[in-house]
Amino acid sequence: MSENIFKVIRPGINTTFQDKGRSNLYHLGIPFSGAMDNRNYLLANKLVGNDLNNPVLEFAFQGPLLKYSGEKINLVITGDVSFKIKHNDNEIEGNCYETYEIHNEDEIDILSTNKSVYGYLSIAGSFDVSYQWGSCSTNTKSNIGANNGLKLQDNQIIKISKISNNFSKKKINYINSKIEKIRVIKGTNFDYFSKTAISNFFEKEFKVSKLSDRMGMRLEGVKLENIKTSNIKSEGLIKGVIQVPGDGNPIIMLSDHGTIGGYPKIGVIISADYDRLVQIPPGSNIKFQQVELSDAETLYKMYEMNTHNLISQI
C-alpha cells in the first residue's frame, strides 16, 4: 500500500498541528495551547465529517504550500483565507467552508488569511501525529506536541494515517463577523491603576503590535499609569488576562501563555469574545468595553448556542 502524504513545499509563517488543547497541566508550567479560534477549528472538523477534537493544521498570515501524493482525499479550509488548488495544469480559487476532493499530485497553496490571523485546514481522515498529555497541540516555545514540538519545516513530509470513506461534499455560507468592541471584566488589580488610566483603557483605541503571537497580543497606545506597583508576586494566569507591565503597554495572554506572571491584571477578555479577539491582525486598532460577570456568562451562552447551531446544520 502506498503512503498518503503531503509534502511541505513552503511551510508558511507559523503552521502547527492543533486540537482542543491539554488541560490540568498549568501546575507543571505547561500551557493549554490548542486551536486559537475554537469555532473555526470545530467547523473545519465538522465539514469533513471528523470527530470535533481531531487534529487540524493551523496557519497564521501566509499559510503553507502543500503537494499531495496518494489516493483521493477531501479537505476543507476555514477562516477568512485566500487559497488556490492546482490540479494538473488547472488552477482554481478555493472557497472557505467548502470541501474539495484532492488527487495525487495536486497542490494546495494557502496565500493569506486576509483581514484576520488564523486559518484551519482539516482533512477527511487523520494526520499521523504524536500526542503528549492527551493532545497533539504543538507549543513551539516548549517544544511540546506534534511534529516534535516544531512548526512545519521546509520540505518535510506530513503523513496521513487514515482516509475517511463515504464522504459527501459539504458547503456552508459563513462570514466571520468582526468585533467592534472587545468586552472585558475588570481584573483583580483594577485598583492599581489611576482613574485616568482606567478611563483611557475603556475610551481610547489601542493598536495591536507586530510582536503578537500565540503566547500573547501586545498593545500600543496611551500608557496606562500604575499608582501602586508594577510588580506583584507571581501568580497563575489564564488566557484572556490583560497584564500591564511597568512600561504601561497592555499584553493579552493567549493560548500558549506562560502559566504564571507577575504584572498587574487590569482586566480579562470575556470567553465569548476570545475567538474574534485572536483574529485581529497586527496594525489594527481595538477598543475595550467593560461588562459584568453575569453579562459575560449570558454572552458566552449565546456564543456557544450559535456555534452549536452552526455545527448541527452541517
Partner: protein, 223 residues
C-alpha cells in the same frame, strides 16, 4: 486559609491567601491544591498554585463561577497536616562560562564570589511553585545577604539549565528563555522531561532542593 475568592474573568476563580510570601501560607495553597485535585471535579480545567494565590479555571459550558465558588468554600484543610515533599539534589557548576552574572553580583552585593557561593550552597530550599515555563521551579528562601534585584535589562536568551537568584528566590531555567534573574551557574540535570507522561517535572511544589557544587569537569562528564 483562603481570605477571599474573586472571579478572574468569567471562567476562573481567584483564591487569595493574602499578600505575604512564606512557607506556611504557601503550604496551605498547596494543601488546597491537593484536596481539590482529589475531588476530581470534572468541570475544572486547571488549578495553578503560586506563592499565595490559587487560580482555578473551569469550563464555562459545565459550571458557573458562583456554583464552583460554593464548592470550593466548603473545602477545609488541616493546618497541622505536614506536606510530604521529596528531597532532591541538584548539581550546579558555577565556573565560566555558566556563571553569567557572578562578577556583577560581587559588585551588587559587595561580597566575594566565594562568600556568595558558600551562602548559596549551605541552605536547602523549599519549592513554592512551578511554572512560567514548563517545569521551572521557584525555590526559597535564599540567605538575606544574597538578595539582589533582577537585571536592569532582562536577557533575551537565558541558557537552558541556568540557576538564577533574585530577591528571596532561586530558580532553574528548564528551557532557553528570556529572563531577568542573576545567573550564578548551570545544572547538567534534566529538570523537565517532556517525554514523561507522568511527572515530567523533577521538582514539584512542597519538595526540598539541595544544590551541590560541581566542577566544570564534573559538569562536562555528567550523565
Amino acid at each position: 486559609m483562603i481570605k477571599n475568592i474573586l472571579n478572574l474573568g468569567d471562567a476562573a476563580l481567584y483564591c487569595d491567601f493574602g499578600q505575604d510570601v512564606n512557607k506556611t501560607i504557601n503550604s496551605n495553597v498547596i494543601k488546597y491544591y491537593n484536596n481539590i485535585k482529589k475531588l476530581n471535579i470534572e468541570s475544572i480545567n486547571n488549578i495553578t498554585p503560586s506563592y499565595n494565590k490559587l487560580i482555578i479555571s473551569f469550563d464555562l459550558n459545565k459550571i458557573k463561577f458562583n456554583e464552583l465558588k460554593n464548592i470550593i468554600e466548603k473545602i477545609h484543610i488541616d493546618d497541622d497536616e505536614k506536606l510530604l515533599g521529596k528531597q532532591i539534589e541538584i548539581p550546579v557548576c558555577c565556573e565560566e562560562p555558566y556563571s553569567l552574572d557572578l562578577s556583577e553580583l560581587e559588585r551588587k552585593l559587595n561580597l566575594t564570589k566565594e562568600i556568595i557561593l558558600n551562602n548559596f550552597f549551605k541552605n536547602e530550599y523549599f519549592c513554592y511553585m512551578t511554572g512560567f515555563i514548563a517545569g521551572m521551579p521557584f525555590l526559597g528562601d535564599i540567605n538575606e545577604s544574597l538578595r539582589a534585584k533582577r537585571l536592569e535589562t532582562p536577557r533575551v536568551k537565558v541558557p537552558k539549565g541556568s540557576v538564577g537568584i533574585t530577591e528571596q528566590f532561586t530558580n532553574i531555567y528548564t528551557f532557553e528563555s528570556p529572563g531577568g534573574w542573576n545567573i550564578i551557574g548551570n545544572t547538567p540535570l534534566k529538570v523537565f522531561d517532556s517525554s514523561k507522561e507522568i511527572e515530567p517535572n523533577l521538582i514539584n511544589p512542597g519538595d526540598t532542593v539541595l544544590f551541590k557544587r560541581i566542577s566544570k569537569e564534573e559538569y562536562l562528564n555528567y550523565e
